[in-house]
Symmetry: C2
């Protein structure tokens, strides 16, 4: 079965690093990632450079990278201003990704807007993106739980998906923003979404999990069981949880690919190349990252016999 | 659905720590663990104190702990000598757990015996344990893969299970010793084991996973789907992988319980108490441990509103 793997490390991981990653280093990493077989690479965002100085070089990154045919280059856009800036870039992203939280409290905390303000802007965002020749997708943050409100009702999620579909978006990402999803919930809720609003193509729905409580890869399996074929990860597990110092953020892309390939799925990703990319990350960011396979090696990485057993 | 959770940190975790954990600290931790609702606590081993000095205080630990009714206290025994010593202890373990590797190479590397040597000793081990009033179980290491040989044939695993059943063992643990199992493999192989050699009771079969490549909790879900009800974990994810510096070892008990309780399973474990135990571990061992929930909090641990949103 074909699965589609996207990496968000350069945007979602680098954005919280205190050290500015030089534009050339970002470009080099993206150019390596482009050759691993990933479906999408999220490369930057169009957010106020005061809010996210780490990604202030959005236009330079998009202008500097080499576009590999078949790879979708994504930029995050939180609002109309973001889409306008993305549309005005000398070299544009292929796709912009907006964001709204299923929890109103989280939406106000994250992007300072009520649900209706966010949804009110969306048709304009779609129009600007499409007129600029860019696809536009939406991430529904806190789909599986909100760190302020707790439980998020399934009906709220279903209603958002319905409205996104009506607005002509090119894709929807259901995001477990702070790692609250469990596999049973993922399978049940995702099944409902796909049953009521069937996917027009294999990559319309994406699941975006965090590993904050260790359940990330289990949730991927649950998402596959429910019928999703596209999954986000972050190289090396880069990223963190703003609410829990020391806790991990996004699931690790190469750990996910290692698992899925072991299980016989076809990710089209060259795992050795992806691990080589992951091993560039600790030096770039100046600290260890949570990825496991980059340390342990792929599953079938065999070890030398102990001395007493060597022929 | 009732699940049974066992913790192996005091044995499997502490045994590789360079710092000797004082007997009184082990006893205190075990006494706390005994009151969390865990099914079994693996408290020590009867291995040569030269090979594993960290657990040389086996008799003192077993004599020092307070036995909580309903909790099964386990000691690892690698051979006849180990069972003899466990049987001669002033205060005995309730259960001893022997170990053999499905891979012959790993068996020779781990306990310096061929398969036939190991299997030849087993009837004597069973006899000594039972005569001393102790139960005896076997762990089948490298069930899902060997770091030297790679793939382990399912027939080899099935043949070991068959022979264990014939020998009157009280339980069998299928162990993914170096984190090579994937969820598809776990579900398929475990289903075959349970179909051919049905479990006499809910805790006869245990699955023991490592999180070396991040798949540990996904494998637990696969094991439940196959019909297993008993799972090992290690407090705080304590333990490591002897082949991969920096990689994790056993799955983390409290991360597993958090996931299973979120999914609606009945583990009987008081998660708050278990997390309190996990938070004792970093100071005892003098380093950080991989557990996530001890850092992030349980799933429904909510956070204060950001200042601008407070009433």
């Amino acid at each position: 079965m074909r699965l589609y793997i996207n990496d968000v490390a350069v945007r979602d991981g680098f954005q919280i690093e205190p050290r500015f990653i030089p534009t050339a280093a970002k470009v080099e990493l993206i150019d390596h990632l482009s050759r691993t077989g990933l479906h999408k690479v999220e490369v930057t965002s169009y957010v106020s450079p005061k809010a996210v100085p780490a990604l202030a070089d959005n236009n330079d990154v998009l202008a500097g990278i080499e576009r590999v045919p078949g790879v979708v280059y994504v930029a995050l856009v939180p609002n109309i201003r973001g889409v306008q800036n993305a549309a005005a870039a000398p070299k544009k992203a292929d796709e912009v990704n907006g964001v709204i939280s299923a929890s109103e409290t989280h939406n106000r905390a994250n992007i300072n807007r009520t649900h209706e303000q966010s949804m009110g802007e969306l048709p304009t965002m779609v129009k600007i993106a499409h007129e600029a020749g860019m696809k536009i997708t939406m991430s529904l943050s806190t789909t599986f739980g909100c760190p302020f409100e707790g439980h998020v009702a399934e009906d709220v999620v279903l209603r958002f998906v319905e409205r996104f579909r009506e607005m002509g978006l090119d894709g929807i990402s259901l995001a477990d923003t702070t790692g609250m999803a469990n596999p049973r919930q993922v399978e049940e809720l995702t099944r409902k979404v796909l049953a009521r609003f069937p996917a027009p193509d294999e990559t319309y729905y994406t699941l975006h999990f965090h590993n904050t409580r260790g359940m990330g890869l289990a949730n991927v399996i649950a998402g596959i069981a429910a019928g999703v074929r596209s999954f986000d990860g972050s190289l090396g597990g880069l990223g963190g949880c703003p609410f829990a110092p020391g806790a991990t953020g996004n699931i690790c892309t190469e750990d996910m690919v290692n698992m899925l390939e072991d299980m016989g799925y076809d990710t089209r990703v060259d795992l050795a190349k992806l691990i080589a990319c992951a091993r560039m990350v600790p030096e770039l960011v100046g600290h260890d990252v949570p990825g496991q396979v980059m340390k342990a090696g792929v599953t079938m990485h065999l070890h030398e016999l102990p001395e007493n057993l060597r022929p």
